[in-house]
Amino acid sequence: MTNTRKGKCAKYFEVALYPVIATCLALLVGVIIMLVTGHNPVDAYLALFEGAFGSSVAIAETLSRSTPLFLTGLAVAFAFKCGLFNIGVEGQLHVGAMAAAVVGCYLTGLPAIAHIPLTLLAAAVVAGIWAGVPGYLKARFRTHEVINTIMMNHIAIALVSYLVVHVFRAPGVIPRTSTILPSAQLYRFIEFSRLNIGLFMAMIALYLIYYLLWKTNVGYEIRAVGHNDKAAECAGINVKRNIVMAMVISGMLGGLAGAERIMGLHLSFIQGFSPGYGFEGIAVALLGRNHPLGILFSAILFGALANGGFRMSMATAVPTDLATVIQAVVVFFVAAEQLAKLFIKRRKKGRLAE
C-alpha cells in the first residue's frame, strides 16, 4: 500500500513538474524583459510579492482577484476535456455578468436566500445558452468552435455595452447599471477587503466539476468524446449531444465568474469591468493541466501576479501589463512541453553521468 501511495506521489510530482518549470521560465523571461527595458527586476518582483502576499488584506485581495479565475479556468478546462477549445469564456462572462446585474437589481422583494441563487442561476443560464450556440454550430454544421466563440466574444461585449449604455444605465459619467439590491450581494467576510463568499462558491464548483468529470457517467462520456470522438461514437455515445452539453456547462461556469464580479465586487455592471478574466482562464486551465487541483494553484498564481502587479507598477514604474506578458509566456512554455522536457532530460542525463 505504501508502494502505491509512493507511486501516486511520484505521479503527482511528475505532473506538477512541467507547470512549475514553465512558471519559473516565464518569470525569468519577465526578468529579461525588464532588464532590456531598463527596469530593476529585483525591486519589481519584491514589490509584486509584497503586493500579492504582504499582509492579510493583500492575501485576501489576491484571492478575490483569483476567484473569477477559478471559474473561468474551470470553464476552459471543462470544454477541453470534451476536446473543445472555448475561447469564448470572456463573452460568456460578460453576458452572465449583465444577467446577474439585471436580476440582482430589478427582482425585488426576495430574501437573500432566494435572491442570490436566482441571480446566480440567471447568469449561468444566459451564459450557458450563449456558449451553447457555438456548441450547437459545431455539432450540427461542424463549424469550428474556436472561430465562433471568438466571434461571439465580440458580439457579447458589444451587446452588453449597448445594454449598459442605452437600456440599464444609471446616472453618472461611467456607463454602469444601478447598484444591485443588498439581497443579491455576496457577503464580504474580511475587513478592508472585497473578498466574498464567491470564493467558497468557486471552491464548490471546483469540487463539483471534479466529481462530475471523473466520478459520473456524464463526465465519462464527455471525456471519452474529448479523447477520441470516433471511438466514443462507436461505443454508442452521442457525440453531438455531449459537445453541446460540454459547451453549455463551460459557459455556465464562465457566467458564474461574471456573476461573482457583479454580486461581490462591483455591485453593478460597469462597462469594461473585465481585465480579461475569460482569456486569463485559458492560461489558468493550460497551466493547471485542465485539472481542478491544478486550476486551484494556477488561478492563485495569476491572481497574485495581477494583484501584486498594481503594487509593482506604483513602486517601480514597471507597467502592470508585465503580468499579461508573463501569462503569455507561461502558455508558450506549457504548450511547448517538449521544451521543458528538454531541460529535465538534460538534468537527468547529467545525473546519470555523475
Binding site: T143, M151, A158, A283, V325, A328, V331, A335, A336, Q338
Partner: protein, 295 residues
C-alpha cells in the same frame, strides 16, 4: 436623392477598399501558414505587433516607410517564434496561437508605457502618404493578390506549400524538407500580418491605440476559411466584410437607427452566418493542425 443613392456612392466603394485592405493582407498571410499545415489563430496578435512597431519606428525615425518595413520584420520575427514553438516543439497550434495573441496585448501595452510613458494611445507620428485617396499599402494589395495566386498555384514553392499541408509524408518522400516549407509559410504569414497591422496604425491613422486590431485578425481568419484558402477567395470575402463595415459606418453617418454597438457587431455576425452557410463546402488542408516529424 433617394436613400439607396445616398448609401451607395463612390465613397462607400473607397471605404470598403480601405476597410478590406488589412483583412486581405492578413488573410493571405494566414493562407501561407495554413496551406503549409499550421493553423494561424495568431493573426490578430501579429497584426497588433505590426501596428505597434510601425508606429514606434515611425516615431523614432520620422520615416513611416521604415515603420512599415519594421512591421514586416517584427511580424516575421513573431512568425518565427510561432513556427519554432508549433513546428519544432510540436505545441498545439491553437494554443501557441493564443499565446501569441495574449503576448501581443501584454507586450504592446507594456512597451507603450515604457517607450512613451503614456497608456492607451501613442502620440501621433508620421503616417504613410496618401496616393489617390489610398495608402500605398492598398496598391500593394492588388499586387499581392495576383502574386500570391501565381505563387501558390504555378510555382514549385506554392505546390510544395500545398503538399506540406495536404500530405507532408509524400512531400518528404519526394525529397523536399517539409519542416523548412512550414517554417517559411508561418514566417511569411507573420510578415504579412505585421504589414496589415501597419496599415491600421500608420496607413489609415497616424497613431497606435491599445488593442486597435479589435478582432480584425480573427475576421481575416474567417475570411481565409470563407475564401477556401485561395487568394481570390480571400479577396472576395474580405471585400464582403469590408463592405459590411463600410455600410455600417454609412448608416451610422446618416443617422439611421442602429446604435454603434450593433454596427460593431455586424462583421462578426456576418462572419458566423457566412461560416455556417458556406463552410460545409470548403475543405481545409488535410494535415492542418498536425505536427510533422521526420521519420
Amino acid at each position: 436623392m433617394n436613400l439607396i443613392e445616398r448609401i451607395f456612392d463612390v465613397t462607400i466603394v473607397m471605404v470598403t477598399i480601405r476597410m478590406a485592405t488589412p483583412l486581405i493582407i492578413a488573410g493571405i498571410g494566414g493562407m501561407f501558414s495554413e496551406r503549409s499545415g499550421v493553423i494561424n489563430i495568431a493573426l490578430e496578435g501579429k497584426m497588433l505587433f505590426g501596428a505597434f512597431s510601425s508606429v514606434a519606428i515611425s516615431y523614432y525615425t520620422g520615416n513611416p516607410w521604415l515603420g512599415a518595413a519594421g512591421a514586416i520584420l517584427i511580424g516575421g520575427l513573431i512568425g518565427f517564434l510561432h513556427a519554432v514553438v508549433s513546428i519544432k516543439f510540436n505545441a498545439n497550434q491553437v494554443v501557441s496561437g493564443v499565446a501569441i495573441n495574449i503576448l501581443a496585448i501584454g507586450l504592446t501595452a507594456f512597451l507603450l508605457e515604457t517607450f512613451f510613458h503614456v497608456s492607451g494611445t501613442t502620440p501621433t507620428v508620421a503616417k504613410l502618404p496618401v496616393w489617390g485617396g489610398f495608402s500605398p499599402i492598398v496598391y500593394f494589395v492588388a499586387v499581392l493578390v495576383v502574386f500570391s495566386h501565381i505563387t501558390l498555384f504555378y510555382t514549385p514553392f506554392g505546390l510544395r506549400l500545398i503538399a506540406a499541408g495536404e500530405h507532408p509524408k509524400a512531400l518528404e518522400t519526394a525529397g523536399v524538407n517539409v519542416i523548412k516549407i512550414r517554417y517559411l509559410g508561418v514566417i511569411i504569414s507573420g510578415c504579412l500580418a505585421g504589414l496589415a497591422g501597419a496599415q491600421l496604425s500608420i496607413g489609415t491613422m497616424s497613431l497606435f491605440v491599445e488593442g486597435m486590431t479589435a478582432g480584425r485578425g480573427f475576421i481575416a481568419l474567417a475570411a481565409l476559411i470563407f475564401g477556401k484558402w485561395t487568394p481570390l477567395g480571400i479577396l472576395g470575402s474580405c471585400l464582403l466584410f469590408g463592405f459590411t463595415d463600410a455600410l455600417g459606418m454609412r448608416l451610422a453617418g446618416l443617422g439611421i437607427g442602429l446604435p454603434t454597438q450593433f454596427i460593431q457587431m455586424l462583421p462578426f455576425v456576418v462572419t458566423m452566418i457566412a461560416l455556417v452557410s458556406f463552410v460545409g463546402r470548403a475543405r481545409p488542408p488535410k494535415a492542418i493542425g498536425m505536427s510533422y516529424q521526420k521519420e
